[in-house]
Amino acid sequence: MSQTFMLEPEIIAAAANVLPDLNNDLVLAKNFLKQQSGATGDTLYDHMVDVVHKILSQKPPDVVDNFEQYSWQVKQEKFRPNFDLLNDIYLAPSQLALIRRMDEMFRLVASKSQRMEDVGEEEQELDLEEDSLRPRIADIIEHNYYFRECGYGLSEQECYAVYIALNMLAIKEPVATIRFFGKIFGTKANYYVAETDLTIEELDRRIREFEMKDMPGEGEGGEEDRAQEIEEQKEMMGEGEAKEEKPKEPVPPKLPPIPESTWQPPPIIPVERPGQGVNKKTYYVCNQPGEPWVCLPDVIPHQIRVARLSVRCMTGDLDAEVITYPPFEGTERNYLRAQLARIQAATSVSPQGFYTFGSGEEEEDIDLEEGAGDMAFNPNPFYQGHTLKDLVDSNLTYWVHHGRHILKQGRTIWWNPNAGLDEAVEEEEDEGLQPMEPESGPSLFTPLSEDGRLEGQNAWSARVSSTLVPDKAVAYLRSNIWPGAVAYSTTGKKSECMYVGLGLKYQPPNFSPLQLPRPQEEYAIGPEVMEMADPTFADEEAYRIAHLPPPPPVLQGEGEGEGLPEEEEEED
């Protein structure tokens, strides 16, 4: 084809007198189209060739309406300058880091199960005593299936990965039972939380550590130290004043006494022992399944109290600092642990009768005194299940809490602050610790109908998962106070709860931070410190005249000259 079109120079050279030729116009037009654009080096001609080529090969529908877009896309695809003289390195897909971790995890779990198989059946019988070595992992795949029926839960991919990760946790850490608590969202990364019971040996070890730390006497010893310090300070001041008085030359004005702070920090409420109360379960978190699980430290009552008064979103980094008012001591891992404790206490629910104290036999006396308030409860082997209608009843009488309520103090078992401060009470009369009434909260296994209503709505909303197939339907409860907490129960014997959310409580209408306390008085109010107006000149004169020394007595022999002036004076 190219032979029929002549090149431009030839045309011009040929003859100027040649009649306008279709060929000529065509060539001119084509040359115009082939002009290179200064910016991209592209020609319209090439571009249109590409566009038509692409349209014909891909045959998109309705191109004429979207032609501009299409043309733009062709341009985009074309622009690939090959300035790169280096060899192309292989860019692994971005998922590689994560995949490697998951791979490690899979291998670990596979090898463990391989070992179990290799051990063989006969030896497994011998292993019965060591059965406790094999931790019981809650079957989250099954629970997730039921949660999905209700419209909550994790995606299947996630769920399986988490299940394998829980297996890995069981292998690596000394835990006896594991349950998947849920997922907490963070701004940079999420947390997957596992709730575990430690093995007995591990628990003993931690209790021993805990008690050893407690030996130097945190509560009382601290106070003694402080009292000593105050005395020492007083001595120092006494010496200071004495020293001041010795050099007599520049007599410093007598200063009012230096103000002393009369504020006493409130008594430190002791932590609950690991394995008891709020710290009954140990929590492990990780950011992605496949990452090693990190154990969260036990929670201190003060942390719970501060967490109640503040609102914060997790960032995903366990060592991020937590800036709140009142000041929170600890990093994000402590804050996360405190929130988990609150969520677990408030949203662990199950159908009535699912759990029971003791071994599930006929009623045992339940002591709710100090130590016994912490009794362990177990799944009830005689649990029969309730009907769907009962479970979905909006009065919620058939569901009970199985998480212990956290008192205002921050513990689940009341600790009496008066118990340890007998000596201090006698010294300081101002403090007058009134005998405090023990705080009490709802006891374990109270039905949900006792939960406070919030703004005209129950604390929990009950729903059925399916209206089309009522036989297979599952009842589930959705919390309105901790959005994200759900619990399900089938009419059979299955029930579970889970939390997926931001870790924030529902606070209508919105949250107000704690007010700062008023500034304390520095000096005791007294005439030395009070502001008064300075005396005016008239006042000072009056003062001086009023306090003049009495006139000297007139001497008799001095003559009347002086008497006269006196009389004159008196006349004045």
Binding site: E68, Y70, G484
Partner: protein, 271 residues
């Protein structure tokens, strides 16, 4: 999200702990397709759910030609009858932000609301609002503040109609990590050339909406990459329960809101 693709998107929706169960998807597909046929909509999307005290509302959107202005919202409680929601009036939008009581479940319920910002004698102080209007107003508020799309998904034709881009190839992996690549679906509030000037590769037909990284405060959009970095999820802290996902390098994306319809006013404290 597009109703015909719910089965594929089922696995992507799981971010806030809320997923769509099989039964729900089946019912939705059936009834929304019927709705689409009745009303001759070009697209029908499932918008989300509101949790109310007695029952839950499900909301759907029907779109014709213009993706921004030609939308109609429908609600239902039992999937058999979809009611058309009235257009949200400004007065109701303001009032719905004030109410803190949850939705009741009965669309014709009238609530009395006290506007404490106005003085005592103002006749507008105490107003009535029907629940239907409240739903419409809440949806309108959420859409204005939280409904987003990725850049390039909606394009503006030279005759200023906005349509869903049929040739959309999705964001690239690096673009997807920036909040700048996501735009609000609403009549733009910033100047027309704000967005154009901030990008080196501006495009008149794609950059006509506000980008979400201008929202105050800075961290109120939570962007995360899941499933090995191939899906981007965006959540707004102002409306907890709102979720937008986008599969990188594909045109798959969707928006869903599941929650109780209350705005979260504590965002500055959270960050």
């Amino acid at each position: 999200m597009n109703v015909h693709k719910l089965w594929e998107y089922k696995e992507y929706v799981n971010v806030n702990g809320k997923i769509l169960s099989n039964e729900l998807i089946s019912l939705l597909q059936n009834s929304l397709t019927l709705l689409q046929v009745e009303n001759h909509f070009a697209y029908v999307q499932y918008w989300g759910q509101f949790h109310a005290v007695d029952t839950d509302y499900h909301i759907a959107v029907g779109m014709n030609k213009d993706a921004i202005s030609d939308r109609k919202y429908f609600y239902t409680t039992d999937f058999k009858f979809w009611g058309l929601l009235p257009k949200a009036k400004k007065k109701y939008k303001h009032l719905s932000l004030l109410t803190t009581f949850p939705f009741r479940g009965d669309p014709s319920l009238k609530i009395k609301i006290l506007d404490e910002a106005l003085e005592e004698n103002n006749p507008d102080r105490c107003q009535f609002m029907k629940e239907e209007n409240r739903i419409a107003a809440t949806i309108s508020n959420i859409c204005e503040e939280a409904e987003i799309c990725s850049r390039g998904q909606l394009i503006k034709h030279p005759d200023s109609t906005v349509v869903i881009n049929p040739n959309y190839y999705g964001l690239t992996a690096s673009e997807a990590k920036l909040t700048k690549s996501y735009l609000h679906i609403r009549p733009p509030q910033h100047r027309w050339n704000t967005n154009l000037l901030t990008r080196p590769d501006y495009n008149y037909s794609m950059d006509f909406l506000d980008s979400i990284d201008q929202d105050i405060p800075n961290g109120c959009w939570n962007l995360s990459l899941e499933q090995n970095g191939s899906i981007v999820y965006l959540k707004s802290l102002y409306w907890p329960g709102m979720m937008f996902f986008h599969k990188v390098r594909t045109p798959e994306s969707g928006f869903l809101y599941v929650g109780n319809g209350r705005k979260n006013l504590d965002v500055p404290f959270l960050l």
